[in-house]
Amino acid sequence: MVSPLLILAAGLGAAFLLGLLRQTSERAAFYVTIAALGFMGFIALSWTVGLALGDALPVMITTAGTAPPFAINLFMGGMEAALISVVTLTGLLSAFYMRKDLLRLGRRVMAVLLVLIMALSGLIMTRDLFNLFVFIELIVIASAGLILLSRDTRALGAGFKYLVVSQVISILLLVGVIFTYHANGSLNIDDIPARPMVFTGASLAIFLVLIALVLELKPFPANGWALDIYESAHPGFSAIFSAASGTAAAFAAFKLFDVAGPAWLPLATGIGIVTFVGANLLALAQSHDRRLLGYSSVGQIGLVLMVIGQADILGATLPYVAGGILISHAVAKSGLFWLSGLVKGRELSDWAALRDNPVLIVAFATFIAMLTGLPPFPAFYAKWALVHALMANGAFALTAAFLIAALIEAAVLFRWFGMAIKRESRRAVVVNLTYEAVVLLAMGTSFVLSWIWGAASGQENLITLVPLLFALLFLPLDIFPAKAKNLLAIAGLVVWFALSFHGLDPIRLVFLIIMVLGGALLLLASFHAEGRRMGFYTPAMLMFAGMALLITSETSFQFFAAWEFLTVGSYFLILRGHDSEPHALSYIVFSLGGAFALLAGFALASGGKFTFFVSELSEIAPQVAPYVFVLLAIGFLTKTAVMGLHIWLPGAHAEAETDVSPMVSGILLKAGLFGLFILLLEMGHQTLYGIDLTVVLVWLGALSAFVGAVLAAFQEDAKRLLAYSSISQMGYAVFGLALMNHLGWLLALMFAINHFVYKSMLFLAVGGVKERTHTKLMYKMGGLITLMPYTFVSVLVGIIAMSGVPPLSGFGGRWIFYNAIMSTDLRLPMILVFMSGPVGFLYLFRLIHSIFLGQPKDELRMVKEAPFWIVAPQMLFVAFLIAFAALPGMILRRVDGYIGQIFGDQPLTWSGRIVDSQFGTWNPVAIWGVIAVVFITILLLLIWMNHNAQRVKQFNIVFSAERPFKPQTTHFAWNFFAPYRKAMGFLEAPIATGFWTGVSNALHGTAEFTRKFYTGNGQTYAVQLLLFVVAVYLIVLGSMGGAS
């Protein structure tokens, strides 16, 4: 192993060497710089690998041949090596990245860069307090020098502010250092004894040192100066400043907190969480990309500080957790800063330019997923471990603050991503191969890191999961035509089903069929797409991968990871739709919010255990069980879009593409239902404050069923109508599940199947109509029955099935429903459910009438039947619905038997094709027979009498002896249920929307108000800094007083 000291030596040496070169030989100087950085990186990496593999042991390097405390000593351990690797490699890549500017400004700047990297490495390694100070000052000087790289003149001001603030910090640090020395007689960090937080000179000294190091981490709100640098500096430097400097400073703080003792940890926790929350909140109001990245950097480092504050409860996993967050932050943030160099405009929406190059979009998505802690990236594992540790130790408030802030961060980043995907860019992307190579290298690194963290997680290594890899496979395959990819995707789904369906219980099997085979069926519609359809298959397969994994998951970790996969995949899918930007955003925010509730729930349930089987949910301690139930239920209910948490759904489903809407509505919603199945299966009745939580669920389900239906009746947009109808239908399913009896579950399952079939069918049908008419507004259509007969048939069958009218399968659902409510004690919620039945008619009739009946319009007179591939799956669904209606036993019987095992009863008797319950009978074949015979008889009668009817055209109607004027004024479709709105319109009051808008406005308002705090004046920043120190000190004193 090469001595780590050489890292410092190489940096310094090369810097001096540069001084010897001639002024003009910038190129040579650049190579020297690169070589030196590469060498430093190589050493660091070799140590990392060596230490990780056990080939080397941590070393303590003493300088001047003397042991500490009489000389400076450096330490090279696993963490140090890894972090130095990060620092040096960031430096190396940034150097490449800044090549042009480095060459322009010459060797002196390169020297400064080398010194900066060297100082950062030194900061990580050193164990000497004063040496720490020296390295910090070196970093300040070098940073201030590099800020000048930027062509933005505003950077000058930022740099000066930085210097002003650094001066104040260095005064604090130096005073702290000297008094620490005075108290301990040593400058060696390891000699600092753990010190309680009592009011003595020594603790004041350690406070000063700690607070100075914390200030280096740009804590909120004393961080305006840093943001100005992020905003104005060269992106290459910002990458270093954010990734490398942040990492090194965080590690330095960690070192000091490590020795200062557990009493000081709350200081780190407090400042960390305040910073994380504050920075993310303020980022909400940002429209400048780099400043937003700055806020995000501050927030991430704050999070690391918070994790450092949890050293006592994380114990040995601290490096894993903190490292996961830190390294995700470093890679993603430097990647994003590098990407920002490729974008000319500085508005967030200017990132739409990246669409010119799909690879860059992938990189962007990767970095954002990495920052938000989505699987399979390291921060995901870290988040998992952190929340588990926090919840196990009862830090609920902290967890809540962390998760809320993480949610805000996700909102900020995904809003940005949405803009990049949906907005129009004014300027093209910069074409610079070096930049792109650097960015792609960072992206590659992120996947490597994912593998490492996965391997070290002690859980499943997510990146090696076959479905995920299959989804990722479509990234390189995106250059092939969509039809070929579609075939592969369908084959993949079918093969995965064949591989995984063995040994599943019938409920899981039904869900697996819906999700995987149903997905394959729906993908048939995607054959319609022409061209390459870039960016469709990866998210789609990611979503299906998530769902496939969800069904087969056994541990909570697998479950949660699958949940995140399907969430993210569906987000990208939804985002593809027309006008879907805001809806996709609210979808991802609600979904991640729900996912975080799941995370918290699982963490609470597991009690700190890392491997927690979902089946163990039934065994958790009774005092936490209700809370676990609530958290998990919130997570699942968000997905099923229960009333109150539903506002994301209509937009997301309505704006999605034709073949995506059925996927996200017909299939994706079932994930939430599946979760509830599992939850109720394992946990059953739970009581909180004397309220049976399943009763709450019953009410929520009933309310959703009713209000969803009413809202659907008032929609003008066909897809929105279907979306609200999904809310209503899922409400029924939740209601059935929460009844907690055999038939209720059967009802829910029947609804799951039926809803999948008819909602997919209807969404496809409406999508097909939209393909032809180019509108979703129903009143603009009309009279399409003769033009699109197949589509009409599928809608007709769909609405008959959905409304529960015999003989189609919806009636089976109603029959089971009545039998289910006969055996429950709950009665009042039935009122809502009874009401929602007929209301369902309203929207269903409106759907079919406004589109297919009535008066066709001028411009739609020649539209053709929907494309074959959109109609084909519908016809399969129609066939299925009819078959299922006549022979429900083919699916339900097995499931019924299985549910019977769970509840230990068997209320239904299946004799032949007749179903008998304790209360009544359902004989589907006889119903079909009677209806068919009567219908055909009467039809023949009518044909006999009226066979010679004259076929007339659309205006041949009696019109009070007038004639119709125009189809538009003759088609009664707009505001179809005006009288109903008069009577029940109060239900339309957007209470939930208003509430969430209020929350969002409050957050934005707070952000908008608070960020005025950053006045831009360097002196103000310095004053804020001092006030921050004083305030923290007073709080520390106060908490000390409270403690004593």
Partner: protein, 305 residues
């Protein structure tokens, strides 16, 4: 086991017989009710056979038009709804002859099959392209959302009371004495259901659907000739079939045709009497009416059962 456990070919003529009796009874009864209304108004009123003549006249019409497939099928749906409803419900309790095809399902089948004809009619009316038809459908659907609610609650209450969804069993439980009728054993459920009964019989004050003075006659505006004939048939058949359900559930059913005739007539007259003394509600008024009066009674019914 066969899907038609009690099926025998002999049932078909028996069912046809039931149908024949009910249609003729409906023809005469509705004419009679109109005649009674006329007499109350001091008029002589229509001939008792007028329904037959009108039916024949409509069938005898020579020129017919069609607006399209759904338009053509709607009367078929409509009449199938009426006939099916009748056939899925046992007409005469205790009679082997008039159980029809009630083994196909139970009360729930009947309740939901009510909508079969409505839906088909609404579709046909929609295809006729006439705005008044669509307005009528809009009104009808809006009104039925609330009008059906008390019935659903009442039915829920009595099925809880009798612990069955089987109509025959419910009727059986009411035999013996008049005080065994649901009307007396569960008056709240009965009142609730009667709200729905009055509300869905298309009579004033709940006849805004066809509102002859403003939107000619609502959904059937474009229907004529044999289409209208089928719908007329349904118009005499369906109320009777529906009344049979109410009679079975709340008024002890009928053990013979005479009892059947009287009970159906009385129930039907109830709506007629209410109709002649009340002006028409607008849709939102009737919805509020059912919310204010029907719903609380229904809720009390399911809470007290």
């Amino acid at each position: 086991m066969s899907s038609f456990p009690n099926f025998a070919w002999g049932q078909v003529p028996l069912a046809l017989l039931t149908l024949f009796i009910v249609i003729n009874y409906g023809m005469i009864m509705t004419a009679l009710v109109r005649k009674i209304g006329a007499r109350v108004g001091g008029r002589y009123g229509i001939p008792i056979w007028q329904n037959y003549i009108d039916l024949l006249k409509n069938i005898a019409l020579r020129s017919k038009i069609s607006h399209g497939v759904m338009y053509y099928l709607a009367p078929v749906f409509r009449l199938t709804g009426g006939v099916g409803l009748l056939l899925f419900v046992p007409t005469i309790y205790g009679s082997d002859w008039h159980q029809n095809f009630s083994y196909a399902g139970d009360l729930i089948l009947a309740l939901y099959f009510v909508f079969f004809g409505t839906l088909g009619m609404a579709l046909g009316a929609g295809e006729s392209g006439h705005p008044h038809s669509a307005i009528g459908v809009s009104r009808g659907l809006s009104q039925v959302t609330m009008a059906e609610l008390p019935l659903a609650l009442g039915v829920y209450a009595i099925s809880l009371q009798y612990q069955t969804l089987d109509i025959t069993q419910i009727v059986a439980a009411q035999q013996g004495s008049i005080f065994n009728w649901t009307l007396f054993t569960n008056p709240l459920a009965t009142i609730a259901a009667m709200f729905a009964f009055v509300g869905t019989m298309m009579r004033s004050p709940f006849d805004v659907v066809i509102a002859p003075q403003e939107i000619p006659i609502g959904p059937p505006t474009e229907y004529h000739s044999s289409y209208l004939a089928l719908m007329q048939t349904n118009r005499v058949l369906f109320p009777v079939a529906k009344t049979v359900i109410y009679m079975n559930l709340f008024f002890g059913g009928a053990t013979n045709w005479a009892e059947f005739a009287i009970k159906v007539f009385v129930l039907y007259m109830l709506t007629a009497v209410i109709g002649v003394v009340h002006p028409r509600f607008r849709v939102e008024q009737s919805i509020r009416f059912f919310l204010k009066w029907g719903l609380p009674v229904g809720v009390l019914a399911i809470l007290t059962v």
